[in-house]
């Protein structure tokens, strides 16, 4: 730019100005028609995602999941009840609560979106849903887990993912059922969790809900981020000798933990259950190799599940991104289809009408059945039929083993300890 400024060339500059001015005039002239066109045939939906920063990888994968769903919807003729209107996703960056709030306001007042889907983190979702509520804009939450999102009496908020507390309640139901099937007693557990946000949520929820399941927590082992050794944790587990261990952590710490578990030959009496996060990341299973065999992992979905179109949806996503549709990409993808179904039912782009359509939705077929058998919201806006699922890892693959209705394999339970493995 500098060299242009240092050598002013008047005739060129004026020509450039002329061109710019005429382009602007043309744009202005075209604007009203363009707007009318957009209003008639396009439905803008705002997506709040962490597109940069430390959650950028997940945010970008979620963005691709949205694009995959939108492509499918638009290719199949858009929203039919709205004369085939096409969905236009508007992505907004939400790396913090402040940013989520600002972007929500912008999406609603400037972009005039029909609805909002997001916002990945629970904190951003809790605050930005209130802004959408004030403007009567429907807000679908397909990836933030906090229980309180739908516990505040908001009328325009609909949550399609399980609550945080279900990591405790569903995991307990699962291990109790597996133990009953195997005619084994399960009375005690230990926690092994990283001292980070999710680890602390796990600690809190397990402390709250385990007594109701008559499972005693013998010890809550909290390890720091980036530990160089797990020997103290393992020695303490060996001393406490729990029936089952519930654990949360990141891929690195899990890798070191399992190497040392096998070195010290410690394994709980019944099994080891990893919750969300690093435990459900295929990179972790790849790094662990044989060490991961028998590990049970809990999350909202796995591609190897007995639901129609699950593998196919995952394959389509793999083709686009080279990655499995995990880590919320699956729930976000399903969320777009659920919102489209509500638009179809409402036959309108008015907030209150879409809200009523969402509240009255009862879907048993459609693309979202790859992970939700039935879509129906309770009066708080929570899709209370959603449950977490358990899968057992073998040969680097996780096959769903619980709940029984969607399992593709029978669980090995109790999980054989190191000496009985090949």
């Amino acid at each position: 730019m500098n060299h242009v400024r240092s050598k002013p060339n008047k005739p060129h500059a004026s020509r450039r100005q002329f061109v710019k001015a005429s382009a602007a005039a043309a744009a202005v002239a075209a604007l009203p028609g363009g707007l009318a066109f957009a209003q008639a045939n396009e439905i803008k939906i705002g997506f709040l995602l962490p597109l940069t920063g430390s959650f950028a990888e997940a945010g970008q994968l979620n963005k691709q999941a949205v694009e995959m769903a939108v492509d499918e919807i638009n290719r199949a003729g858009g929203v039919k009840s709205l004369k085939g209107a096409k969905i236009v996703p508007l992505f907004a960056n939400a790396t913090s609560v402040d940013e989520a709030n600002t972007e929500t306001t912008r999406l609603i007042s400037r972009e005039r979106v029909t609805g909002i889907i997001g916002a990945y983190s629970s904190g951003s979702t809790i605050s930005s849903t209130v802004i959408a509520e004030r403007s009567s804009v429907p807000y679908l939450v397909p990836n933030a887990l906090a229980d309180e999102i739908t516990a505040r009496g908001l009328k325009y908020v609909f949550k399609t993912v399980p609550h945080f507390s279900q990591f405790a309640t569903n995991a307990a139901e699962m291990v109790l059922q597996l133990s009953e099937n195997a005619k084994r007693e399960l009375k005690t557990c230990c926690l092994v969790r990283e001292n980070n946000f999710f680890g602390n949520v796990v600690g809190r929820e397990f402390a709250k809900y385990m007594p109701g399941f008559r499972i005693q927590i013998l010890k809550d082992n909290i390890f720091p981020t980036n530990p160089t050794s797990f020997e103290d944790v393992i020695l303490s587990l060996r001393r406490d000798s729990p029936d089952v261990v519930f654990a949360a952590g990141e891929p690195s710490s899990i890798t070191l933990l399992f190497k040392q578990l096998s070195e010290l030959r410690y394994w709980p009496k019944l099994g080891w259950v990893g919750l969300g996060g690093g435990y459900t990341n295929p990179i972790t299973w790849g790094n662990l190799g044989k060490l991961a065999d028998g590990l049970i992992v809990v999350n909202d979905w796995f591609p190897d599940i007995k639901l129609p179109g699950a593998r196919e949806a995952n394959e389509r996503f793999r083709k686009r991104t080279g990655k499995d549709m995990l880590g919320n990409s699956n729930t976000t993808y399903a969320g777009v289809h659920i919102f489209k179904a509500a638009l179809e039912k409402a036959g309108s782009t008015e907030g209150p009408k879409i809200r009523d359509a969402l509240a009255g939705l009862d879907l048993v077929d459609g693309p979202q059945t790859f992970m939700y058998e039935r879509v129906k919201f309770d009066p708080t806006g929570f899709m209370n039929r959603t449950t977490l699922v358990g899968a057992q890892v073998k040969g680097g693959q996780a096959k769903v083993i619980w709940p029984t209705a969607v399992r593709v394999a029978d669980a090995a339970w109790p999980v054989p300890d190191w000496s009985k493995r090949t």
Partner: protein
């Protein structure tokens, strides 16, 4: 707490201390002789781990064989880094030297990420998890070997600094560079050798501990650099026996601390011990002596 569990924890802490000492050896050499705080030390450790994994995946070469080649290769690389960026910085204030090593560290992390990607890699030897029984405690071969090599290196370098000509030149250069120069010692050459050998030792440590851990580009910084600095200062900068003793003290303190107070407070015990030692003996356990 049964005595048996405490004994197990003690033994495992000693082995972990050996791993720490091995990582700290190269750092103590560079710190002791050149008075340069090498913040890139951890990256040479990480590089050693990556090279060991590369040798294993590409040619099936065991890290216990490739370690020697990795040591030699990284020695040359470290010497080159010394000649190119550290030596020019030696004339300037110490803060500049630190910043230069931080720059080297950042560049190395970036380069390793480009070469091997950001995700964890694992070196799975068929016997990575193999263990043997010692007094009723399961010990892994990988950690035991790392411990023995640490003891060997500490002993060998103690003898080297005490009796070998180059070793004595190193001590002279560290104690009084001007006088050493007047006695005909090439301080520049000593510095080149010191930095090369120091970074080579870091890579050697990396290759030897690779089977027990995993590696990603920031592994060294995330997991070992703090412990290594604590050990070096605790055991007196430049003192190899000190690094070994310091490593063992920290390893055992962390192991027992984690067992008694819970893993979240593991580092509190070792760092509290560190503060106490520094208050009582400001120049470390060996009172500033290199040998």
């Amino acid at each position: 707490m049964p005595a048996e569990v405490i004994f197990q924890s003690l033994l495992l802490g000693i082995l972990q201390g050996g791993v720490y000492a091995l990582v700290a050896c190269g750092l103590t050499l560079i710190y002791g002789v050149m008075k340069v705080v090498n913040f890139a030390h951890a990256e040479f450790l990480t590089l050693g781990m990556y090279l060991a994994i590369a040798a294993w995946t590409a040619g099936g070469v065991s890290p216990y064989v490739s370690a020697l080649f990795i040591f030699a290769l990284v020695c040359a690389l470290g010497a080159a880094a010394q000649a190119l960026v550290i030596r020019p910085a030696l004339k300037h204030p110490q803060i500049n030297q630190m910043l230069v090593t931080i720059g080297v560290s950042t560049m190395m992390i970036g380069a390793m990420q480009l070469a091997w990607g950001p995700n964890n890699l694992v070196l799975s030897l068929p016997w990575s998890g193999a263990t043997f029984d010692a007094w009723g405690v399961r010990l892994s071969y990988v950690r035991t070997i790392a411990f023995l090599v640490a003891v060997l290196i500490a002993g060998a370098f103690w003898l080297f600094l005490k009796h070998a000509k180059t070793g004595m030149a190193m001590r002279a250069a560290s104690q009084n560079p001007v006088a050493a120069r007047l006695m005909g010692i090439s301080v520049q050459r000593v510095n080149l050798i010191t930095f090369g050998v120091g970074t080579g030792l870091a890579a050697l440590a990396g290759a030897l501990i690779a089977p027990a851990f995993f590696v990603n580009p920031t592994f060294g910084t995330d997991y070992f650099i703090l412990a290594a600095f604590v050990i070096v200062v605790l055991g007196t900068m430049g003192n190899f026996i000190g690094a070994l003793v310091g490593g063992l003290v920290i390893g055992v303190a962390e192991g027992l601390g984690g067992l008694l107070l819970g893993p979240a407070l593991r580092q509190m015990v070792s760092l509290a011990l560190f503060i106490v030692v520094l208050l009582a003996l400001p120049r470390g356990l060996f009172r500033g002596k290199m040998t």
